[in-house]
Symmetry: C2
Subunit: 234 residues, 2 copies
């Protein structure tokens, strides 16, 4: 009783502490898959934090589908064994902030996969969208302007055509973080604009031809500079 809801410092550490305590509770009580967790109210009292903190921690676990919270009933463990549950939760707590190098490195991986898939799975509508994005890119860059944004949208159009919702979601998660950094540290292009356009057109053509191998090659060529940029970082 007495002191309710202590706020220790800020959010992420408190949340990890709560998640860790939930894990301990699961182990202590030997909870099995589909078992019910105590209510948010009793957890908030037990851990001496606000109910909101508990709710946020549970929402985070829910985003990993480790638990399932149902409105007027309670929060239930997913159909995952305790061993895996423990390991995954520990990894979640240990998750560190994504550094810029991993973002770029991961983007290269995603782009390679998405362009390969897009070449195989693209519909005619997808092709039209990609072509439209390419057209906007060309117009912008050939008028001498910076076309960083149009370039990004071209790649996102390809990602959508890959028909892989997970890759598409991941791409959306990391591209804004990359682009905002590049806007800051932007350097002038050494290569000519026409060459840049040609590289994009090669990607488009390969997708149009449904040639996955050529598409991947063209994409890797397009990102040659970025790969080198990565290397400089290490």
């Amino acid at each position: 009783m007495k002191s309710k809801h202590i706020r220790i410092k800020d959010n992420i550490e408190v949340q990890n502490m709560i998640i860790s305590k939930i894990k301990d509770f699961i182990n202590l009580k030997n909870l099995e898959p589909d078992d019910k967790l105590p209510s948010e109210r009793v957890l908030s009292e037990k851990f001496n934090v606000s109910r909101r903190n508990i709710g946020e921690a549970i929402q985070k676990l829910e985003s990993y589908e480790l638990v399932k919270s149902v409105p007027q009933s309670g929060t239930f463990l997913a159909g995952i064994g305790r061993i895996a549950m423990n390991g995954i939760i520990e990894d979640i707590i240990a998750l560190e902030k994504q550094d810029f190098l991993s973002l770029v490195e991961t983007r290269l991986m995603l782009e390679a996969k998405s362009v390969s898939l897009a070449a195989v799975r693209r519909t005619n509508d997808d092709l039209k969208n990609i072509e439209a994005a390419l057209s906007r890119y060309k117009t912008k860059i050939l008028s001498g302007n910076d076309a960083l944004q149009e370039d990004l949208l071209f790649h996102l159009a390809i990602s959508k055509a890959s028909k892989n919702s997970s890759i598409n979601a991941f791409m959306l998660k990391i591209t804004p973080k990359i682009i905002s950094t590049f806007e800051k540290t932007r350097v002038n292009d050494e290569e000519g604009f026409a060459f840049e356009v040609a590289k994009h057109e090669a990607i488009f053509q390969a997708i149009k031809d449904k040639n996955a191998e050529a598409a991947l090659k063209a994409m890797e060529f397009h990102f040659e500079m970025l790969v080198n940029f990565c290397k400089d970082f290490r």
Copy 2:
């Protein structure tokens, strides 16, 4: 005024509607990077939804680093041009639920990259962790039990050794969803347990030898069954 906070149906559609209206507002007012958005209160009145809905929508945009919300000041646009902002927001709204095939397909991509990186970057501590996970896996499977969880933890240990925080985060995001599905539709292994163990040991050995090529090969061989499983889906 009068009717405050209409709840249209549930959360995801309302949230997308709000995000879409925020995008429209940015365009209407010609907001530029670092400009300030109206306060949550006036947005909630303007859009006729509860302030909580606004806050959640802004939090979602914040997770993409499209806006930055600062405690007693306001919400500010990130350093991203309007064209990219529009395109990304539209894609976010169009994001569909991740289907199972995408999850598996994406996991294969992540595993391939993470094992290659792990072979190059692993420290001695990483190697110890991977070996320990492998040992637990062997103990479990050789005693005739199902070792799905231990197998997963072995792969997560490799992911951690890849030293790529983004890939590690993505792996954690998709593996729980995959494992819970496999627990349901689990079929008995046709191959012998010893063979399974051998495949895992090959992966471990390649990482130990810092041989990225062999590690990738071993991983692809390990996932041969899963690749076929993917093919069956289409």
